[in-house]
């Protein structure tokens, strides 16, 4: 019997030259590799079978490449620099009235605008990160039970799909440290995509957008945090608002709160109806320390809220799954 390497080399070169590369997969020497399995000692079969399967994948991939090469050869090339094709006419754009911006990005623009006017710099959050930024620098020791609350996706290499925009906090603090220590403040909002490993339904998505704020100064207080957040929502809804808080727990803040506003008139709110908007708190001293900022000298606050929630409330959207559906039926509601 020929060895597998020889067969592989031979078949690959046949595929490269063949006009009917898929036929090569039917070659007797390749099929014979399968037929000998039965004759082998049981303990050798697993390893051998694996080799054959790998060879099969390599050959199939070579066949696909060759097929697409052959297919491509029959395709007529274009004058890529021309404004339009031969014998056709000048091209128009699609009608503007068919175009639409996604409501989530519309709202992100809106949120960015308000926070920029309030004095915050805006950055975008990462979509793949590591344990260090997602947990360790945020006062979640390894195996801390609070990690359970964040159903994170993990890759083969141990990278993490961030479950919150707080994954940017350590970076924000480090890059603002110099400004802070020369008498300034850190005021940054991070906006971006987050992921939670959960089943989706009308109110849950594994992919969503958050806006995260970080403010650090020598004199930051919880009262300032609540003032800042109320100011944002008053600007967002264009009216004065009552706020309400609930204690909550996030390892990276102490104290931690849930922040609610009285439902604004724009959303047909009545007095006594509350909308939970985001989680917030005073940045935990360990989080400042992790970024090299002296927690005895500086204090800060941070918050994180969901963009989809703002959008759903604004337009009365009933199902969060629309956002990532890519359905024109939904998208064209926003022309």
């Amino acid at each position: 019997m020929q060895n597998i390497d020889d067969i592989s080399k031979n078949l690959l070169s046949q595929i490269t030259d063949s006009l009917t590369p898929r036929e090569v997969l039917k070659a007797p020497e390749f099929r014979q590799l399968y037929s000998v399995i039965k004759t082998m000692p049981v303990e050798d079969r697993g390893n051998y079978g694996k080799q054959i399967n790998e060879l099969k994948l390599v050959l199939e991939s070579a066949v696909r490449t060759r097929e697409s090469e052959l297919e491509s050869a029959t395709i007529e090339p274009l004058d890529i620099s021309a404004p339009w094709g031969i014998n056709s006419k000048p091209l128009c754009l699609l009608p503007t009235e068919m175009g639409s911006q996604h409501p989530v990005t519309l709202e992100i623009d809106n949120v960015i605008d308000i926070f920029t006017r309030m004095g915050f710099d805006v950055i975008e959050s990462r979509q793949i990160d590591d344990d260090y930024h997602m947990f360790s620098t945020l006062n979640f020791p390894e195996n801390h039970p609070a990690r359970d609350g964040y159903d994170t996706f993990i890759t083969d290499e141990g990278y993490i799909s961030p479950a919150h925009t707080s994954t940017m906090q350590n970076r924000i603090l480090i890059s603002g440290k110099e400004k802070l220590e020369s008498g300034g403040q850190i005021g940054v909002v991070a906006i971006g995509r987050c992921f939670r490993n959960e089943d989706i339904d009308a109110t849950h998505e594994h992919t969503f957008y958050q806006y995260e704020g970080v403010f650090v100064s020598e004199t930051a207080t919880l009262g300032q945090m609540l003032g800042t957040l109320r100011s944002f929502f008053e600007s967002y809804y264009g009216q004065s608002l009552k706020i309400r808080t609930q204690p909550s727990y996030f390892p990276f803040v102490e104290p931690g709160l849930e922040f609610a506003i009285e439902k604004p008139a724009e959303l047909n709110g009545k007095s006594g109806e509350w909308l939970e908007m985001l989680g917030c708190g005073m940045i935990h001293p360990n989080v400042l320390t992790a970024a090299g900022i002296d927690p005895t000298k500086y204090r800060g606050y941070a918050w994180g809220g969901g963009i989809e929630r703002l959008v759903m409330l604004k337009y009365g959207i009933e199902d969060i799954r629309h956002f990532e559906s890519g359905k024109l039926q939904f998208l064209r509601k926003f022309v």
């Binding site: 007529e76 890529i80 094709g85 699609l94 068919m98 915050f120 799909s161 992919t207 808080t245 104290p255």
Partner: protein, 830 residues
């Protein structure tokens, strides 16, 4: 976690309406997700006495009973003695028994939440009218016991409502565990009640037994059996206590009152012994475990020598229920001698499980390292009430009072008594931190205006100890059950929370007048979105993760995608390498929905592995803009030009002029993979010469794979690269001339392989020596059928700054252009 209001009331006075209480708990402690009115579920059950019970002839299990309801039911058929007839199928029904009767018209409690609750009536069974039913524990939704009716062992007057006899006119608060992760004490009803008392401003008295940290276990019993415990590594367990009890009556149940409390908070009553451990866990947050002493001695080689140690490599343990697990060195193991008999904090082993024949029971009360237990929980997928509490980090001081109380209940409910001395290992005694605080520190953090008295009052309500030292600072020590208080911020949190954050005055931070410079890349993307929308395209957002079959359909190499290993679905298994495959995947579904001609675009990030990693050792992200066009109608012309038209338009809006270069065959660039190189091109910024992306039509295999219409094409460009070339300085404005322009059309006949850009470039060269304002526009591209040549007609517009051009001047320039084109392309002017 479920909290019972009536259970709370046993420890603190609550006189406010439920909705106010829920709001207050929400504002000061934790959000209550739902409130369940338990009273509604049990409102109809009545405790009655079975006066007569007689088997019905001809039925193997039915009995005819006459019950005494104390005469309280109205509109019901009674016999001459005022008794009510009920047919009962339970084997344990007998006369002189107190039972729970559900009268006609009542809802069977275990169907209360069903979409169609079961409403009882008066029906005929075996020829006899049965008015309602006598209920089993299962029908009462207490626990899964259906072998007979629930027997009431307390002395209760017939006619008493079941709900009021057993305090079932209750409200249950459902709380999400993760909101209290940091509060181990609140995982017990007493701790939760203490917190409620502090919130509503009531004094709270922790029960004496829970304050006695060194109870007298009275172990001077004669002939104690031997029991030794050793914590091999203090990192694994702070404290381990155990004691042996003997003489438990296996048939004994815990009091019905206790059973109803356990079942309403979601714990199934089982036997007196098991109920004791669960009851105390629910009360205090401290889990207990029971082992069969004799089995443990047998496994341990004749000795009751308990060790707390790490799991060994390749060690196996069979858990209660028969599941075999392989231990890791991170697991904490309870062993008899060196033989593992339990997975500490998580689940006991089958070899020492108590059963009906158990005579001697070891009651364990201990604390374990919460980080190890969480790893155990994740590795073995064990989510019990006990491990939920252990992973919050209970105080080691809690074990003694809880074990002592467990012994009391055990003897009351099961008749057992202690038969060993208390065995204990407590290597390092736990001390609470003493934290110094002033009102100023609290006010600096909170922005509040508290004085020392406010702080002392609120902390006293939560049973903190406060020493006031002469410098006016407060030295605060948390009570032993507060394992979460370590730093001054933790105390400030208590103060703020107990006084209510909503009472703090809202302020804005002061900032100087320096203008914030908006993020230019954000502004660029925002503008790009608006431009593409103006071009009639629809913006989509699609998942960052895709199925491997989408990668394959797009001809991308699966190995170049980061693979998510714990994905909930194969659709979310790989990070995407470019945006185009997601967009292609959306074309067919939209066409099926009836949309015939559209363009979709997305501006987002991609994560091909070949990007490598950055200085922070995390993958480099690409910022991309991709668009696809599709038209299901059979229209002429190459779709390539439609995609290119939109791209040219978008870039012109940014004052960027593009040129197009051939795309090499079999490029490794994942962005290029779906594109057919013979009908696609590399997109180049003309002024800098840098490549910014690809525009084109797709490979035949891609068209088949995604079921695309023949007329589909698109582009994918690197948003950052395009952004960079838009960051040009200087204006492109050209001062207009006051003089009229002249236009001439020229038609060049060239070989079919001559590119349009060759003609334009040559024409521009022909213009170079003339200082004129000029513009060259395409007019027509024509090729007769089967011809080897094509005609390209362009229009040249010329304007001078200082005079009106004469016909001769124009002709001179035009012939310069023609000559240049003829020279470069062997064109014939026709």
């Amino acid at each position: 976690m479920i909290i019972s209001l009536n259970w709370l009331k046993k420890f603190t006075d609550i006189d406010m309406p439920v909705d106010e209480l829920v709001t207050l708990i929400g504002a000061r402690l934790v959000e209550i997700e739902t409130v369940i009115n338990l009273g509604a579920k049990y409102k109809d059950g009545i405790i009655v006495k079975v006066v007569k019970a007689k088997k019905i002839d001809g039925s193997d299990h039915l009995s005819l009973t006459k019950i005494d309801d104390g005469g309280i039911s109205k509109n019901i058929e009674r016999d001459e003695n005022g008794l009510i007839q009920v047919v009962c199928g339970a084997p344990n029904v007998r006369s002189d028994q107190l039972v729970v009767w559900l009268p006609p018209g009542s809802v069977v409690p275990n169907t209360f939440l069903d979409s169609q609750p079961f409403v009882l009536g008066a029906m005929k069974l075996c020829g006899f009218i049965s008015n309602g039913m006598i209920a089993s524990a299962r029908e009462l939704d207490l626990y899964d016991e259906h072998t007979g009716i629930l027997e009431i062992d307390d002395d209760i007057k017939p006619g008493t409502s079941f709900a009021s006899a057993y305090e079932l006119d209750d409200y249950l608060f459902d709380i999400e565990n993760k909101s209290l992760t940091h509060r181990p004490d609140c995982f017990g009803i007493i701790g939760f009640a203490r917190e409620v008392a502090a919130i509503i401003g009531k004094k709270f008295q922790t029960p004496d037994w829970l304050m006695n940290l060194s109870p007298d276990f009275k172990t001077d019993i004669s002939n104690p059996v031997e029991l030794n415990v050793t914590i091999d590594n203090p990192e694994l367990s702070a404290r381990y206590q155990a004691i042996v009890m003997s003489g438990a009556d296996a048939d004994k149940k815990s009091p019905i009152q206790i059973q109803t409390y356990l079942s309403r908070v979601g714990v199934r009553p089982i036997s007196a012994v098991v109920d004791v451990t669960n009851y105390l866990m629910m009360l205090t947050g401290q889990p207990l475990h029971a082992f069969d002493y004799d089995k443990l001695v047998a496994v341990g080689g004749g000795k009751a020598d308990i060790h707390v140690r790490s799991g060994h490599e390749n060690e196996e343990l069979e858990l209660i229920g028969g599941q075999k697990i392989e231990l890791s060195t991170e697991d904490i193991v309870i062993s008899a001698g060196d033989t593992a008999v339990g997975l500490a904090g998580a689940m006991g082993g089958s070899s020492t499980a108590i059963d009906d024949n158990t005579k001697n029971i070891i009651i364990e009360c201990a604390t374990f390292n919460l980080y190890n237990l969480r790893a155990t929980q994740m590795r073995h997928g064990i989510f019990s009430e006990a491990i939920t509490r252990f992973t919050k980090g209970q105080s080691p001081e809690l074990t003694a009072p809880v074990l002592f109380e467990a012994i009391n209940y055990m003897s009351q409910w099961s008749g057992a008594s202690c038969s060993s001395k208390l065995a204990e290992s407590y290597p390092i005694k736990h001390e609470q931190a003493r934290i110094e605080l002033t009102a100023d520190i609290a006010n600096d953090i909170l922005g509040s205006s508290y004085v020392n008295e406010d702080i002392v009052r609120s902390l006293n309500n939560a049973e903190f100890t406060i020493d006031q030292n002469p410098s006016q600072s407060l030295v605060v020590t948390a009570p032993y059950w507060r394992a979460d208080i370590h730093i001054v911020e933790d105390i400030v949190e208590e103060v703020g929370r107990l006084n209510g954050y909503d009472s703090i005055a809202l302020k804005l931070p002061t900032r100087d007048f320096t203008a914030v410079i908006p993020n230019e890349f954000d502004s660029f993307r925002s503008r790009m979105r608006k431009i593409l929308v103006r071009a009639g395209a629809n913006e989509v957002l699609s998942y960052s993760f895709i199925n491997s079959n989408i990668l394959e359909k797009a001809d991308q190499n699966v190995a170049n995608s980061y693979k998510v290993i714990n994905s909930i679905s194969p659709d979310l298994q790989y990070y995407r390498q470019s945006l185009t495959p997601n967009l292609l995947d959306l074309i067919h579904p939209n066409i099926k929905q009836g949309y015939e001609n559209f363009a979709l675009f997305e501006i987002n990030k991609t994560h091909p592995k070949n990007n490598g990693i950055n200085d922070e050792k995390v993958p480099v992200e690409s910022d991309m803009t991709a668009l696809v066009i599709a038209n299901k109608n059979n229209i002429s012309g190459a779709p390539y030009y439609q995609a290119k038209r939109i791209l040219d338009y978008a870039c012109q809006s940014f004052d960027v002029v593009l040129s197009y270069e051939p795309l090499e065959h079999n490029s490794d660039d994942p962005i290029a993979k779906p594109f057919e190189n013979r009908r696609s091109s590399k997109v180049i910024d003309k002024s800098s010469g840098s490549a910014i992306g690809i525009v084109g039509e797709y490979k035949k295999s891609v068209i088949r794979g995604f079921k695309l219409p023949e007329y589909s094409a698109g582009f994918e460009i690197n948003s950052k690269a395009l952004f960079k070339v838009t960051q040009k300085t200087g204006a492109s404005y050209i001062v207009p001339s006051r003089y009229p322009s002249s236009e001439r059309d020229i038609c060049f006949q060239v070989d079919k392989d001559i590119q349009y850009s060759q003609i334009i470039d040559a024409a521009n060269e022909g213009l170079e020596n003339y200082k004129l304002i000029s513009a060259i526009m395409p007019i027509d591209i024509y090729q007769p059928d089967g011809g080897g040549a094509k005609n390209i007609t362009i229009r040249v517009r010329l304007t001078a700054y200082d005079h009106t051009l004469t016909g001769d001047e124009v002709s001179t320039v035009i012939s310069s252009i023609s000559n240049s084109v003829i020279g470069k392309t062997e064109a014939v002017v026709v």
